[in-house]
């Protein structure tokens, strides 16, 4: 499928006043949708041709959608053009009427001419005065065309002390051109002077790094004509200390003898601080903790994005129905993989099973002394129920589990677990040692796969978020969702699975 062609076919020819990124943005957004839909159909067992047809049937006519989005975006400009044309026609007609009147009343025309001359002289005088004002305004730093832009970064609170060394990338909204991007670092007064810029909307990417980690955020800046734009940002500091945390999960009694394990990863979540920029929205900040020494950081969203890490990006635990609690060393997850029986053309002949081969070396009994979390919001990203299975082809030092059920919290995607991409063979230790790029991107056999096709759950307190405190003991009991119990009851009723085929 080349969805770009289908979308482009629906778009009118490029207009002179069309925003440069409009066409590309529309095509990229809709193409991403179709690709996700296509992959979903593949995972449901369709062949590629059927998958394409179904994805298109659910989407609608791509050309129509693209054209509608283009016209909605260009509506203002098109209407303005039509108004100008209409105004021009009116002016021409008015001129003809005036000329006719002047021809039949010469005296009146002479009088009118004299009056018009006086009015014209007055208009010229006004225009001269206006030109003088404009010349004066050019002396002032804020001219209508080019306006000073400054960003001031302070610590934690809007009235906090200035922060030196914060890196800021400013980019013109809607542009991906490197020529529309500017980088500055704050000085000892917390100031980053970006110089003169034209009015318009800009995106700010902010990054504050310390030895303890990096905090990053995104904000908007609106530069208005004739004014100096000063954006004041309260940026939190990466936490210096960590807090001791104990996490527990109580399995429902009905499953106590089932021999199952609940995998629960806790992901660093965004921290919201009140903003002081008048738009009423809190500023959202993301924390990134340092990689092990020698690791190469990957950057989220491309080379200019904030760094992402694999180590300590999340904490992860395994709660057994036998009452055991196991912690994953360095936060390494049991990477799920699909066991599939594919034909030569890559289609699925049987529904895939989701397995996880967990290295014994990565699992440790829970030790309160080691359970130190950053005092920053964490959230449960997913719940997976694992069932140990016997297999002859599992690598030495590993145990194999099947993912038999799972749920995703209310604020996470109900359909696709964003934390996992599944590959078609068990991962090895060399792959696990790589940074988070293993999860965020990979070769073409990586698939977005969700074995969990059920609505999200809500915890009793409304959110599955936890913020450890340095001031008091931290204990969080994970609620076991009723819907997950229901899934498990259904699963346990089914006959036992046969031994899986070799991948």
């Amino acid at each position: 499928m080349n969805p770009g062609d289908a979308f482009e076919a629906g778009l009118p020819p490029p207009q002179a006043d069309e925003p440069p990124a409009l066409r590309r943005d529309i095509i990229d957004e809709l193409a991403d949708h179709l690709e996700c839909s296509f992959r979903h159909e593949l995972l449901r067992g369709c062949d590629p041709e059927t998958a394409r047809a179904r994805a298109l049937a659910r989407f609608g006519d791509p050309a129509v959608v693209a054209r509608r989005l283009w016209f909605d975006a260009m509506k203002g400009r098109i209407m303005k053009q039509r108004l100008l044309i209409g105004a021009g026609v009116v002016v021409v007609l008015a001129s003809l009427v005036l000329t006719g009147l002047a021809w039949t009343a010469m005296a009146r025309v002479q009088l009118e001419s004299a009056r018009a001359l006086a009015a014209s002289q007055a208009a010229n005088k006004q225009m001269l005065a206006r030109l003088s004002e404009m010349a004066e305004s050019l002396k002032h730093p804020s001219s209508p065309g080019w306006n000073p832009v400054k960003v001031v970064v302070v610590d934690e609170q809007p009235d906090g002390p200035p922060v030196e060394g914060v890196r800021i990338l400013m980019a013109r909204s809607g542009s991906t051109s490197a020529e529309q991007q500017w980088r500055e670092t704050t000085d000892s007064q917390g100031n980053a002077d970006f110089g003169l810029h034209q009015p318009g909307s800009y995106n700010l990417s902010i990054e504050r790094s310390t030895p303890e980690g990096t905090v990053s955020g995104f904000q908007m800046l609106n530069v208005k004509a004739g004014t100096e734009a000063v954006k004041r940002i309260a940026c939190p500091r990466p936490p210096r200390k960590k807090a001791a945390v104990k996490v527990t999960c109580q399995w429902p009694r009905e499953f106590e003898k089932a021999g199952l394990y609940l995998y629960v990863p806790f992901v660093l979540s965004a921290r919201n601080l009140p903003a002081d920029d008048g738009d009423g929205q809190p500023d959202s900040w993301t924390l990134h903790l340092p990689l092990p020494e020698g690791s190469i950081p990957r950057r989220f969203g491309g080379p200019m994005g904030p760094p992402i890490t694999e180590k300590e990006e999340f904490q992860a635990y395994l709660f057994g129905t036998d009452g055991s609690t196991t912690e994953f060393r360095d936060g390494r997850a049991p990477f799920p993989w699909i066991q599939e029986d594919t034909s030569r053309d890559g289609s699925y002949l049987t529904p895939p099973r989701l397995l996880a081969d967990v290295a014994d070396a990565h699992r440790l009994p829970f030790d309160p002394a080691r359970a130190k979390w950053a005092p920053w919001p964490y959230r449960v990203s997913i719940l997976l129920v694992l069932k140990p299975i016997a297999s002859k082809d599992v690598a030495p030092g590993r145990r194999r589990y099947e993912v038999v059920a799972g749920r995703s919290p209310a604020f996470q995607a109900a359909f696709v677990p964003n934390d996992f991409k599944i590959q078609a063979a068990p991962p090895n230790d060399a792959q696990l040692g790589q940074p988070l790029g293993l999860i965020m991107s990979g070769p073409s056999n990586w698939l977005n796969f969700s074995p969990i096709q059920s609505p999200p759950f809500d915890t009793p307190d409304g959110e599955s978020r936890f913020v450890p405190s340095l001031d008091h003991p931290n204990e969080w009991a994970i609620p076991f969702p009723d819907e997950l119990s229901k899934q498990l009851r259904e699963m346990l009723k089914k006959p036992a699975e046969q031994t899986p085929k070799k991948p």
């Binding site: 991403d32 909605d72 738009d279 969203g301 990586w446």
Partner: protein
Amino acid sequence: MDSQTLGSAVEMMILDVAARGPTYGYELARTVAERSEGYFELKEGSLYPALHRLERRKLLKAHWRDADGRRRKYYEITQAGRAELASRKSTWLKFAGAVNGVLGTRRTGLSGA
């Protein structure tokens, strides 16, 4: 259901899903279909005009991220969007409650939240 009512309901559902966390078009379409248990099986492409309209009205804000080597546009609700959502939800629940009352099908547990 007439198109104007449906359009307003679609916008409200979009804002509600976005209020729970950053989302993108495909994910949003699936969430709406799933949470409505198939009642709102809209043409997925029809969500995008509504998404862009909400973005132009500053009820949603958007940013691009890299996903699988593609550009993906994520939407987040703004403070104005949250206020709009709360207002529409309240109106909708009052309307639904009033109609149910007339039809004699009023359910317990309905709230204005």
